[in-house]
């Protein structure tokens, strides 16, 4: 069942086209990474989903409710962590969470339990009585996350939840998100791609307001190629490689710190087969010394740059 469903969403800010016919959907229990370069329209899309702003055209449904017509139900079912994490600086952490719980209509009997739970969950128990103004950026981020969780919403929309955190905290937050992903639907935006590879099941890459790519992560990472560096005459190696069964294309690439007589290739194989053994066997039979023979999966980073750069030059 689709918890978030977006069709042809378009948003103009005056003449600026921020989101351009974006369509996607997020199923229940999925963690989806929402990626894109700065100014791509991630925050704008998320704001439309949270009903904070309205789309110029197109529609979106969250938890089955329309963001325009049933905005209250949408907000009841949604926890949102904004990009800048604005908080009231003059309140104490605990006090703030109690206020938010009350505002989000958590029942009185539940309220204490929920607040204790999110304090624990977001690891802010030690700062519970501190003034928010005295918290560091990372702790404010966690307070924001606690606020997003306090009314136990089935859907979480997190705008760069790990920006400004130290590596340890980033890992912690990721673990938390992964845990939450078991019974929540999560849409998160970030610029740190290894994070996405770690927690997300699916990615949506958006560029200049348009969706550039969306697919399951496992699907995206299937593409692989073999990297070879060998000390031998280039033409002969190429001829040899072409005889290996399953090789689809061979491409010469410049050698790193070009040692003498070394040549490098990038080899693509049919069905992404792993032909390393076959290749090394042939090369060794010739007596050519091999410096490197490696299977390289396509990283999300390469894909991201490829997709967004391609778009930018096309536009």
């Amino acid at each position: 069942m689709a918890m978030i469903e977006v069709r042809d969403l378009t948003k103009y800010f005056g003449n600026v086209l921020a989101v351009d016919h974006v369509s996607f959907s997020v199923d229940k229990g999925e963690i989806v990474g929402f990626l894109g370069p700065n100014g791509a329209g991630k925050t704008t899309t998320m704001r439309i989903l949270t009903t904070y702003i309205s789309a110029t055209s197109g529609w979106a449904k969250v938890a089955g409710y329309d963001v325009m017509q049933q905005s209250r139900e949408v907000r009841q079912n949604l926890g949102y962590l904004p990009e800048q994490v604005p908080l009231y600086p003059e309140m104490r952490v605990e006090e703030y969470l109690h206020y938010r719980a009350r505002l989000k209509q958590v029942d009185r009997r539940q309220r204490n339990r929920r607040v204790e739970y999110v304090l624990e969950r977001c690891r802010i128990v030690p700062v519970r009585r501190r003034l928010i103004s005295s918290l560091s950026r990372g702790y404010r981020q966690r307070v924001g996350l606690a606020d997003a969780l306090v009314h136990d919403p089935p859907i979480l929309i997190l705008d760069e939840p790990t920006s400004g955190l130290d590596p340890g905290q980033q890992q912690e937050t990721l673990n938390l998100i992964r845990e939450l992903g078991q019974d929540h639907t999560v849409l998160l935006s970030t610029h740190i791609l290894p994070e996405v590879e770690e927690v997300c099941q699916r990615v949506i890459i958006i560029n200049q307001g348009r969706i550039a790519l969306q697919d399951r992560l496992s699907q995206l990472q299937r593409d692989s190629h073999i990297v070879l560096e060998v000390k031998a005459p280039e033409q002969e190696v190429r001829r040899l490689l072409q005889q290996v069964e399953g090789v689809r294309a061979i491409q010469s690439v410049p050698v790193e710190d070009g040692a003498d007589g070394l040549c490098a290739f990038q080899i693509e194989t049919c069905d992404n087969r792993d032909l390393r053994l076959a290749i090394s066997e042939r090369l060794l039979r010739q007596g050519w010394p091999i410096r490197r023979l490696d299977l390289k999966r396509q990283s999300l980073r390469d894909l991201f740059i490829q997709v967004t750069a391609g778009r930018a030059s096309a536009a």
Binding site: Y52, I53, P89, Y99, D147, N175
Partner: protein
Amino acid sequence: MTTLAPDTQKPDPRLLEEAYGPSIIEERPPEVARSVGVFGLFLLLGTLVMLAWNAIRSAVGGPDSKLPFFSNNWIVFCSVMAIALLYYHAAFDRALEIRRGYGILAWLVLIAGGLGGLFWIVYQWWGTVAAICTAFITGLISVAVTVCPWVNSGRNETPEEGLSMTSEASPSDTSVGTRSAWAAVLTWPGALGQFLGRWNNLIGTDIVVARITFGAAALVLLTIVVVAMLVSRFQWQALPTASSVALIVGLAFLLTAAKHETNEVWRLAASYALAWAGYIAFAVLGLYIVRDLVVTTDGGMFSPVGLLAGIFSLLFLLAHINLAGSDADSSYYAAMICLVFGALILGLLSVLRALLPTLAFYLSDTWRPSAYFIPNGLLALILVLVQLIVGLVTVSNNQLVAIVRRELLAYFYTPTAYLVLAGLAIIAAIQYLTWVGILHVANRDISRREVIFREPIVQYYFYGLLPVFALLAIPPFLTMRLFSEERRTGTLEVLLVAPVSETTVVLGKFFGAWCFFLVAWGLWFIFPLIFRFLMDQPFDYRPLLSFYVGTAFLVVSFIGLGVFFSAITDNQVIAAVLSYAGVLALFVPQLLHWQFTWAGRGTGEWLVKVVQQLSLLEQYESFLQGQLYLQHLLYHISIAVLFLFLTVRVLESRKWK
């Protein structure tokens, strides 16, 4: 689950200390607070010396020794200053032990005040022996309640740690402390039983419990002795006043100490002790209501002591709610009791007001209760209303109430509230002095008496530039921050993404500002109360009521305006300037009215009539005369409604930008 962060393990005590401690304290050098404290201490000593000197002089006694050498004014002034300085020190000293020391002292003062008050009440009713017995039992219960959390929190700990009072709060001893404190609050006999039962086998093993117990018991005895001496020998009429002062001072100091306390058991102990004191005061209030209804035949309703008990019960319970957090179960029950009790009294009052005069007529030839319960009944009514509001605000799940509560509290988080309150207090004091001056002059000068002593004389209190200025100046000052600040910091997004409608948010902010204004504006009435009760000068106070209600509605339009202007800009200063411009615009009919009067235009013209109805100062005067016209109130309400509606539209317009 693997965790990397260190803080998921058992928290390091230093971190805890830092986390729970008040953040403001970190920023100030400790020397300032300390020197202020020492100065306060010297002042207090000085006051004591003055008192002693007066006492010795009157005891040794020459012919002129009837008059005290140091006037009471000086003594009062010095002691108030001393307490204020010490309070500053108690709130801002960096050392936990010192703040804790103040807290313990405050608790002792509180017990002494409570015992004194109870002693006096029981003494009035049943005599010395009963009074001493009551004081002793209450004292014992106080000791039990004080020690109870520690006795119980020690139970689950390892023997080596025992009852270490300085042990940092850990989750387990928090919950144990909660439970035991609960027992203490819910069943005082239960607390006593727990205390006695455990005390027996703890006293041998733990020196701390023994010390606390004996120290407190000694204090109780000492208090009883002092109180008994006071009652038998000295001016026992002073006892209620002294007790009230002790209760207020103790409450204030204990509250700060507990707010800044790092150890959960200490906090809980203070918080539940306050609740406990609140319930006792409640019981006293109930006692007095029953007495006033059943026993007395002089027709008076709600004697001052009962009222005082009511006020204290409210203060104590509020302090408890403040400390425990309004979501805590104990706060919920305290608030519920406030609600139920308040509603009961309100119902009772209205029924009595309707029935009692008739009943008295049929039942008795001599007993004639006063039909209007004024002024004590009126004060009781106000008390009950406040009680109802406090109860509702704490208990309610309503979003509007949640926002109003936050907005109200937000004024106290920032200097705004203190600026407004202090400013109004000063203005009111100046006006009061002028007023009393006028009355004095009139008293001496026969020719003016006719003019000035014509009721309502309170109008001279409010005729003047300052009150009008305050009325016009305060509302924009209160509203300028409301939306502009949220827009600037971006919290508006967080607020509006909660499942709450724009209308609720706007109304919440509006009512928050209005409620704060109502509280602040109430400062005007303290001075007339002093005039009435302490200086014993009766006067017609009813115009004060119409004035309060009238001005309360008059500012509704200003606040509505201010809310709107703060929503259209993210700059507070611009919002304030625009709001002042708006207030000035509302003042224009007044200017026109003056113009017309000077020009001597005919009063029959409709334009002149309309302008007169719309001019603010004309309305202000009619409120002072005790006249509330519906059209005046509706005028302001409709302006407010218009601007609030526009504000909602402005908030919604963000979607379409």
